[in-house]
Symmetry: C2
């Protein structure tokens, strides 16, 4: 059995859960609820950065962050499934993952402004800078939504999770201006049951 | 000719420059100075996240972030050089890269507290949280510094750049308590001329 350090609202944990399900590995993974803010010694030993997700295999070897875990799971499943081997497809998937994860990171920094700072310490220019990354990222994706492949790749998984996080924490504020991405996410949801199963209520 | 969106103080750009030199690709890359804070339209089109590094190949295809660029450069150089093909070595390199990049990200967030917020908006608990990630990461690495392979892998490159950034922005504050990592970085510097050539004065 593998172990996944897990919290239900993390978009990066969600990537791992969806990848595992797509690869047929979800039954081999025990979910271990972890609050990164608590700083348990075991967790910090597994990942000194104190971030989730962390995957631990049967030999006690740790894998993080989500990108490394997704590549590892793809490798365990034989390779070339959610991470294409063909160079053009592979780098397109990796670029999309980097963009979607970057949108997710910017969303997280917007959330952290409220979580880690009292209102009088907020800095609007910082929040606006993060919002700009999200807006430009989504505008670029709306202009040319990626194809959804039979087995979605790491980029498509990351995009779905970034949009899902925007739904969770920002009340779907992206939807009105991005009709193509709304249709994209509807199609992804219909094709990938684990995306629906890992949905968090706000 | 490839183009690299570049700024001299970025630890993530430095990874790319060192990787390119190790792979013999540095002569094929034109450095294009870019200030991410300026938000040029061309730059934002290449990477909507507004982050450096971005690499653009001869066909106008963009690659980001630094991890994706390193994998792409390794691929261009034939593969299996800075990103091992053997699974155990590959995932160890990817894990080390994720840890070192995570330390670098936490250092950046410490720097950004000063760059993007006036002193009265600083939140010590946030800065301390980032400092904790750096301290735990470096403690774990001091306990077991990675081997330096004949061609350093992406993890070793990332670690050298994270330590170099700590030198640049935090006046080498990590050195006193991490003698093994100091020796490690000395050895890396002696072996990798491009690490010395890309050093920034503080």
């Amino acid at each position: 059995m593998m172990v996944l350090r897990f919290a239900p609202a993390s978009p990066f944990v969600r990537k791992v859960r969806i990848a595992a399900a797509l690869l047929g590995l979800d039954k081999d993974i025990e979910l271990r609820p972890t609050d990164p803010a608590k700083g348990e010694a075991d967790f910090w030993r597994e990942n000194p950065l104190g971030k989730i997700p962390v995957l631990i295999d049967e030999h006690g070897t740790q894998y993080f962050d989500s990108r490394v875990i997704l590549e590892y799971l793809d490798h365990r499943a034989g390779g070339g499934k959610i991470l294409p081997r063909d160079p053009a497809a592979r780098f397109a998937a990796l670029r999309l993952q980097a963009l979607a994860d970057g949108v997710g990171d910017a969303c997280l920094l917007q959330v952290y402004e409220g979580r880690y700072r009292p209102p009088e310490k907020h800095v609007q220019a910082w929040v606006d800078m993060q919002a700009g990354k999200v807006a430009r990222g989504l505008a670029a994706l709306e202009a040319a939504p990626p194809k959804i492949t039979t087995t979605p790749d790491v980029g498509q998984i990351a995009l779905a999770c970034a949009l899902g996080y925007r739904d969770l924490r920002f009340n779907g504020d992206w939807r009105a201006k991005h009709p193509k991405l709304v249709a994209w996410l509807d199609k992804f949801s219909a094709q990938v049951p684990s995306f629906v199963e890992t949905k968090m209520a706000a």
